[in-house]
């Protein structure tokens, strides 16, 4: 089998990699690029733990072929903080105890980032439905929703 050469942008950096045709973006991130923040909870797009942002939209990286990312812009959890400054969502997740085991957290943060880019002032209902593709089994979602609400307020400059 011949590998496919792919040029893409990940977290703002030009990245080139080789992959097989059947490898997913998640496989590539984890196994070829050492970006293990995206998790495989199901491999079938049902849990959202592998969420990444591609060309501004949140996707399950288990449902994207590595080869498809040619020329795309990919954002992963590893690029969310600005250097040593955490993104407000990251800070608020810690502050609100919005994670217990934390395995779903990178996916939630990616999805929530895409949410706040599209809807800076979401209602609780909008948050809950936007995040419905991210499963969390520890928290009951309560503290996650509050963390997103609080981060949104801070990002709107409404500080708490």
């Amino acid at each position: 089998m011949t590998s496919i050469a792919v040029s893409t942008t990940i977290n703002g950096d030009d990245v080139e990699f080789l992959c097989r045709a059947d490898e997913t973006l998640l496989d590539v991130l984890r196994n070829r690029l050492g970006l293990m923040g995206a998790k495989e909870g199901c491999g079938t797009g049902d849990c959202g733990a592998c969420s990444t942002i591609m060309d501004g939209r949140v996707v399950c990286s288990c449902l994207v072929l590595g080869a498809e990312t040619e020329g795309r812009e990919i954002e992963t959890i590893e690029g969310m903080a600005n250097g040593s400054d955490l993104h407000p969502l990251q800070s608020k997740f810690i502050e609100h105890a919005a994670l217990q085991c934390g395995v779903c957290t990178p996916g939630f943060l990616m999805a929530a980032k895409a949410l706040l880019a599209a809807h800076p002032d979401p209602t609780e209902k909008e948050i809950r439905f936007w995040l419905a593709g991210n499963l969390c089994r520890c928290t009951g979602y309560d503290k996650i929703v509050r963390a997103v609400q609080d981060a949104a307020a801070e990002m709107r400059g409404e500080g708490t």
């Binding site: 079938t44 797009g45 939209r57 399950c60 072929l65 080869a67 999805a111 995040l131 593709g133």
Partner: protein, 286 residues
Amino acid sequence: MRYERPGTIEDAVAMLAQASGRSFVLAGGTDLLVRMKSDDFDADLVVDIKAIPGMDEIAETADGFAIGAAVSCAELAENSALVSAWPGVVEAANLIGSTQIQSRCTMTGNLCNASPAADSVPALVAADARVRVIGPNGTRTISAQNIPVGPGKTSLEKGDIIDAILLARPQPRSGDAYLRFIPRTEMDIAVVGVAVNLTLGADGSVQTARVALGAVAPSVILSEEAARTLIGTKLEAAALGALEAACSAASIPIDDKRGTVAFRKQVAGVLARRAARIAYERAGGK
């Protein structure tokens, strides 16, 4: 497995037509990549159509809309002209999967996956959508309803690619709606889905009706009996009762992990009644 990303539809058709083994068209991939996870699945060729110009566009013409095969369902909701013309179709497409799935999944893929429970298909059938098929022998336009022929099976032939779904400009005083039942609020496959598309006369009574039922048969049912219950009515209680009974009667579902025969038949009627009300109001009925 080979991955190809042709730049023209002709190349794509040629690749699929000449492929020796099992070959697949890749648009959003939200069904195909799930199937690829199975140990029993093998593909020799995957043709990614997203680099073909026009595939990712919603074209508005004098006749209506041509929705490119690679347009994601999320993008449908962002096209205000389409939303106002065919709100039922767009809401059906937007019910598929999560935010993440919406970023990738397409209506054409939903149609070609040929699941009996596909959310957008009843809405497309109720809207009398057509699809443009490009194949080795040229281009043809056929009814969306005729694409799925059974679970996982389509009428498409080797080398055929649907390049767009065609929706007519809606008639004046018309409206469509889609409702489905799922146990949770999100992330489930429809247990029952019902689409209704109505056109009203000047007096507000129903002139034409199309009622499509999903997940209650091997493929979508377009029930003429159900439609007839609404013609000439203003959705009075008796008409809605008749619609409900007709939809329950038209449903021929199975028992499975998602629901029972009795449940599906009963809820098909309930949803039809509710969807008809929404479509009626959207058509300007009161």
